[in-house]
Symmetry: C2
Subunit: 148 residues, 2 copies
């Protein structure tokens, strides 16, 4: 059994996501070798923002800056994981976070997921359920949910 | 950080629960040392059964047999874990599974929970949410949910 060999690590760069990274490093002792690092840009948030801001701001410019920041955050995480001896694949997707996490889980044939329990948008998540709750419910692989 | 050191392993002796055991053994490499093995007898099921069966069967006798079976299953799991080099504490509780799991999590100050995603009573769980979903939502520690 592969168990902890290939880990999908979805991150929104929140503090809990960063805590999840420490657990991943520790899982090396349990056979973890490959990490698929994933960030999903929530297209619904982009649309909402764009709708309100368009009359006042250069929305395209802001989106570009945002994507540049994301690429930088991903690079930092990649480096950290490589320094810990993992082989790393990095993916940035645009869509609906929990759906894309489940899609990438299948595409990459990972053996386990490690993720934070709550993301950045806390109020919405309290009303509608968190991304991790939806992933736990629908995933076909084991999920390790890290708490604050 | 303790991370994987002290694991709470709630089990209902289902197949997924047994799969969870394999993950626990693997976590030895990530620092797992102590296992709190827990079975919660669902008092609501006992009551329901007792209510319907009392006119026809010796309910007390059946409950005693059932508890004897549980003790035997727990012994088997304890032995397996001890043979794998863990120190083991075993608890049998009577109550409502997700509530007692969360209570024992606090009492035993475990660092992580490992459990199956679904238990034996599948139809009820599909309607009301599984024990593991409730635990993931309310736990203050990381939870590794194992799938079928």
């Amino acid at each position: 059994m592969k168990m902890f060999k290939k880990i999908l690590y979805p991150t929104d760069f929140s503090d809990i996501s960063k805590k999840a990274l420490e657990y991943i490093k520790k899982l090396k002792g349990a056979g973890a070798k490959e990490i698929v690092l994933l960030h999903v840009i929530d297209e619904r948030e982009i649309e909402k923002f764009s709708q309100y801001a368009k009359p006042y701001l250069d929305v395209e410019e802001i989106e570009k800056d945002n994507e540049e920041n994301i690429r930088q955050e991903m690079k930092d995480l990649e480096n950290q994981l490589r320094e810990s001896g993992f082989s790393v694949k990095s993916r940035i997707e645009k869509g609906i976070p929990f759906k894309d996490i489940l899609r990438v889980e299948k595409e990459e044939k990972v053996s386990v997921l490690v993720m934070g329990s709550h993301g950045k948008s806390c109020i919405e998540e309290m009303l509608l359920g968190s991304v991790s709750e939806k992933v736990v419910r629908k995933s076909s692989m084991p999920v390790l949910v890290i708490r604050r």
